[in-house]
């Protein structure tokens, strides 16, 4: 941030406690046991994405949480609900798109991924959900170099987390 010339939309968002890293069990190391996808696995993929406005992760801002993720292994569906920190956040679309890109890159293509705003948490909820559900608009957005750079910047935080571990 350069000397306070940038105006933040939400100056003082609420901070949430981060959950611990997922513990591994004996079954996790047993080749004969198949691990199904679960909400926690999806959450681990997106929790460390950095917020475009603050040097904080989506988990710390409670934008994403494990209980707002549903995974259906039988019908191959994943749904992620995310909660913008304020109802008028103009960056909600960018955040949603970043989550979607991260999941499209890192979950098997057999899954249909839906990223939506948690109902009642944003003024333009319907419009944004519609945008996010439109595959062509998402593809077009991902071809926009500036947008892709912003998304990659947020995703680099995930990699930094990997390197810290």
């Amino acid at each position: 941030m350069g000397g306070g010339t940038e105006v933040l939309q939400n100056l003082n968002p609420r901070l949430f406690v981060k959950c611990d890293d997922r513990a591994t069990s004996e079954d996790d190391w047993n080749e004969n046991v198949t691990d199904e996808f679960d909400p926690r696995e999806i959450f681990d993929l997106i929790r460390h994405i950095s917020d475009p406005e603050h040097p904080l992760t989506l988990e710390e801002l409670n934008v994403v949480s494990v209980d707002r993720i549903t995974v259906d292994n039988k019908s191959n569906r994943i749904q992620v609900l995310f909660t913008p920190t304020i109802p008028h956040c103009s960056l909600a679309t960018l955040i949603g798109l970043t989550i979607q890109v991260q999941l499209l890159r890192n979950v098997p293509p057999r899954f249909k991924v839906r990223v939506k705003i948690t109902p009642g948490t944003h003024a333009s909820e319907t419009a944004i959900n519609k945008q996010m559900a439109d595959k062509e608009r998402v593809s077009a957005a991902m071809e926009n170099a500036d947008l892709l750079r912003a998304i990659n910047k947020s995703l680099l935080a995930v990699e930094e987390h990997y390197d810290k571990r």
Partner: protein, 954 residues
């Protein structure tokens, strides 16, 4: 013909004068040649109409004067020569550099007269345009000024402005880092001694253009950006006259987005606060706070935030330590009000992002001075207490923040002030009450560490009751803050804490395990207080001997001695309280031994503190508890070995103990015959420790015993155990640099060719290279310098290489495993240096089809790749296809390691990676759906990385 005449003849005969410098200097030094003769001889040069020839003469003189000792020439000679050189400053421009060189030497001479100083300054300004000179001549100009400053200060003070002006005009536009380093050291020296007056602005301007320093260090240059930045910073704070100009510059640079500008500005502000006038700072305080605020509250950069907080502290401290005018006092008040007002609104809820930064600002303010601290205590402490003691939820974060302010307040002794007596009372009451709440206990203890000793007796009594309640509760935490609080109180009021807490603690069957642990740890921690050590040690031994949770007692004692208490505490426990012997007595006689490994660890830690004599006595006392003569054919039991490890591992090299022969025999038996794998390993390690430390004669006897046993047992059912014992022995011999280490190593290598034990022998290299505390210098073992490097050379050994290249299938795999185990353990930079030789080995190992070999190879590769060693850029074509093949086959460990390698490879040179990007990204899709989640995680990590290859990351 005299020598000097020879020199004159050479000059006259037209020999190049510049080749005769050393000769002339020698004649001058010996007195064979006078200065007058020299000048006369040089006349054809010095008066030559050709400026090149004149230049030669002047340079010749300059070089000679540079070589002469500073006190060689007398005052008259220096006068003549000085005047000559000063007069020559208006010479042809090609001669000016030589003149400056000569002047630099002459000005440094002891006899250089005051009368020439002002003349020289005037002539320099009139005739020399520094910016037209080369780097070395500019440096000579600066050196003249520096020598004048150091030798002719009084003369310069007659016209101080001329001297300052000479510096300003001279250094203007200087761009060479070497000269700048010189100037940044000289300018502070000059400006701190001469008033700048009307030249201050101009002097500042020539420095301002360098801020912040933008400099990229060349490969072999010794000058770094930080050196230049530090030097420039020193210039700005060399005089208080720079304050009015530096502050706007700092404010401007703080507004930029460039991190280096922000950091340099903050560093300058911090150091400038000690030098610049309060009046200058006062006029900019509002702007400073406004500019610093975003950096302390919203900056994403920790370095910037820390410096900005320091700057706030220093600004306030400057006000508080200087005599202030009425308006400056008002400025200070207003600043304190602004800071508290601006941060106050963020203190309403600790879960808000700005709560913590706001408390950090207030802590920074409280650290400035007693006045500031008192202000913060009065305005903020009640608010934080109210927040912690809120009606809806009790908040620990507010108390942790409060503890930092309390620490400042205690350091500044503000609690003696009557003005905050009611705040103090409120703090005491609230903390004791909040101690009852599990959610605020940690914060309370953290605050009490700071302020506990200041509480009055009645409150302290309530506090001890609250501590006992906490000990009786089921809550596991907080332990660390509790221990610190207890020790702080015990240090201030030992008798009171003994009566109020220690003597009132008892264990009962109804206590939960967490409650018992807290009580036992309290006794352990209290051992730190000298007057408590014996009491607490007796209490702990009482609980142990009366079988009140013996395992828990031992566990707590072990955790305590391993938590690095002071050596004095350990010494008291070992000597005064005889704890080592008491633990042996208890463990050897007990029907059911408590955790022997934990008891061994306690004994080991205590033994390490003893002197050789103390160790010898203790050892003799304790060995009596072991049935050395009756140890059965399987040797020592597991618990005996653990205790023995504690007793014998930390023995100093010169400590001898009785019964060594029986102990070695029993250990050899238990290392081979024990049914318990851990016991076998412990016995072998203890044996190797004995081998490492005993005298050469004794070592030979022990080695003979081991070798015979290994040879006898290698082809039997205990063959693997024999190889393990051999590996530990080899390790010990290598560590002590024993003459027979090579022979023993060859023996181990030869077992790789023995199918029944080949893999065990290969794994032995892992043991040899492992870092074991038992065999470390902390246990007084010899540790050969670079022992890992010594073992590393064995991968090129003919015996091992021939097994790898020519052995049968199982031998080949075992040899590969041995090599990989070596490579895995040595420093990565060592392997990286040999990478070209090792690539073939890595590829063979990856192709071996053996899971263990492939997995270990991938582990090595992963570790090497993570170090970003550039050598791997050349092997992209070799390794990427291999890694892609490995990740699709093999065990989970192989797949995970292969994916890990791919992740790290994704960070290498993008140009080399781009041809593989699409293939890797597509191939990894399958791994995203691996049946094991841990593999999927690695695949996602690797794929994300490769998707960023070639993407702009800006």
């Amino acid at each position: 013909m005299s020598n000097s005449c020879q020199f004159v003849e050479k000059v006259i005969s037209g020999e190049d004068v510049l080749t005769l410098e050393d000769e002339a200097t020698e004649y001058l030094t010996k007195g064979d040649l006078s200065i007058a003769d020299l000048l006369e001889t040089l006349e054809p040069y010095l008066t030559n109409l050709d400026h090149n020839e004149r230049g030669k003469g002047v340079l010749f003189l300059a070089d000679i004067f540079e070589k002469l000792a500073p006190d060689f020439l007398n005052a008259d000679e220096v006068d003549v020569i000085g005047e000559y050189f000063i007069g020559k400053l208006n010479e042809h421009f090609t001669i000016t550099p030589h003149i400056l060189k000569g002047l630099s030497a002459i000005v440094g001479m002891g006899n250089f007269g005051e009368s020439h100083v002002l003349n020289l300054l005037g002539s320099l300004q009139m005739n020399v345009t520094v910016q037209t000179l080369t780097q070395s001549s500019r440096l000579a100009y600066y050196e003249i000024l520096q020598k004048l400053l150091r030798n002719q200060k009084e003369a310069l003070k007659k016209k101080p402005n001329d001297f300052v002006y000479a510096i300003i005009t001279g250094m203007d536009s200087e761009g060479d880092p070497r000269n700048l380093m010189f100037l940044f050291q000289f300018v502070p020296e000059a400006y701190s001694q001469f008033p700048l007056e009307h030249l201050a602005e101009e002097a500042f301007s020539v420095l301002e253009c360098y801020f912040p320093i933008d400099f990229t260090q060349k490969d072999n240059s010794s000058i770094t950006r930080d050196d230049l930045a530090r030097g420039l910073n020193d210039c700005f704070v060399s005089t208080s006259e720079f304050g009015p100009f530096a502050l706007p510059m700092v404010l401007e640079k703080l507004e930029t987005a460039l991190k280096v500008a922000q950091l340099d500005s903050l560093k300058l502000l911090i150091s400038g606060c000690d030098v610049w006038n309060v009046a200058d700072i006062s006029s900019r305080v509002d702007e400073l706070w406004k500019t610093l605020k975003p950096h302390v509250l919203q900056s994403g950069d920790n370095d910037v935030t820390q410096l900005a907080l320091q700057a706030i502290t220093r600004i306030l401290r400057r006000f508080c330590t200087s005599p202030l005018s009425a308006s400056e006092s008002e400025t200070l008040d207003n600043l304190l009000k602004s800071v508290t007002r601006e941060t106050h609104r963020f203190l309403s809820d600790p879960t808000l992002t700005l709560f913590l930064p706001s408390t950090k600002v207030l802590i920074a303010v409280s650290q400035a001075s007693a006045i500031c601290c008192e202000y913060v205590v009065k305005t903020v402490v009640p608010q934080l207490l109210a927040l912690a003691d809120g009606p809806e939820k009790k908040n620990d974060a507010a108390l942790v923040a409060l503890s930092h302010i309390l620490a400042s307040s205690v350091q500044r002794s503000v609690w003696d002030s009557d003005e905050i007596a009611d705040v103090k009372a409120k703090v005491a009451v609230s903390l004791v009450r909040l101690l009852q709440e599990p959610t605020t206990r940690h914060g309370c203890f953290t605050c009490l560490v700071q302020i506990g000793r200041l509480l009055d007796e009645k409150v302290r009594a309530e506090l001890y009751d609250a501590i006992l309640d906490f000990l009786a509760s089921d809550d596991r935490q907080p332990l660390e803050s509790y221990s610190k609080c207890l020790l702080a109180l015990a240090a201030a009021y030992p008798a009171e804490v003994q009566r109020g807490v220690v003597e009132r603690i008892s264990l009962s069957d109804s206590d939960t395990i967490d409650s018992k642990r807290k009580k036992l740890l309290t006794f352990c921690w209290c051992c730190e207080i000298p007057s408590f050590t014996s009491l607490c040690c007796d209490k702990l031994m009482f609980f142990l001997e009366s079988r009140q949770s013996p395992d828990l007692v031992v566990e707590c004692m072990r955790d305590f001695v391993l938590s690095q208490p002071s050596p004095e505490v350990l010494g008291r426990l070992a000597n005064d309280d005889d704890l080592i012997r008491r633990l042996h007595d208890f463990s050897c006689k007990a029907e059911v031994t408590p955790d022997a490994a934990a008891v061994g660890k306690i004994v080991e830690t205590l033994m390490r503190q003893l002197t050789p004599d103390e160790q010898k006595t203790t050892c003799a006392n304790c060995l009596a508890f072991y049935p050395l003569d009756t140890a059965d054919e399987k040797g020592f039991s597991s618990s005996q070995v653990q205790l023995l490890k504690g007793l014998l591992l930390p023995l100093r090299r010169d400590v001898r103990f009785d019964g060594r022969h029986q102990i070695v025999s029993a250990l050899v038996r238990s290392s081979l015959r024990s049914a318990d794998r851990a016991n076998r390993e412990s016995s072998a390690i203890l044996l190797s420790s004995i081998v490492n430390k005993c005298s050469d004669d004794e070592t030979d006897r022990v080695l003979e015993r081991i070798m015979t046993t290994v040879d006898d047992g290698i082809d039997t059912e205990i063959g693997s155990n024999c190889v393990d014992l051999l590996a530990w022995t080899v390790k010990s011999l290598i560590l002590r640099n024993h003459k027979s280490s090579t022979n023993w190593m060859r023996k181990l290598v030869s077992f790789i060719d023995k199918e029944a034990v080949s893999v065990v022998a290969a794994r032995g290299f892992k043991k040899i290279l492992s870092d074991r505390d038992e065999l470390s210098p902390s246990n007084f073992c010899s540790q050969r310098l670079l022992f890992k490097q010594w073992v590393f050379q064995w991968i090129y050994d003919d015996q091992l290489m021939s097994l790898f290249n020519e052995g049968g299938e199982s031998t080949k795999k075992a040899a590969a495993l041995a090599i990989i185990n070596i490579v895995l353990a040595v420093p990565t930079n060592l392997v990286a240096a040999e990478i070209t030789k090792l690539v073939k080995v890595f590829v063979s190992c990856l192709d071996s089809g053996n899971e263990e070999v492939a997995s270990a190879t991938l582990e090595v590769l992963s570790s090497l790749l993570s170090s970003q060693n550039k050598a791997f850029n050349d092997y992209v074509d070799t390794f990427i296809p291999k890694l892609l093949a490995c990740k699709s086959a093999g065990s989970m460990a192989v797949r995970m390691n292969a994916l890990n390698c791919l992740y790290f490879y994704g960070k290498y040179d993008e140009v080399k990676l781009l041809p593989y990007r699409i293939k890797v990204v597509c191939d990894l899709v399958a791994d995203l759906d691996d049946k094991k989640r841990l593999v999927r995680q690695k695949a996602a990590k690797a794929r994300s990385r490769w998707l960023l290859v070639g993407a702009a990351e800006g």
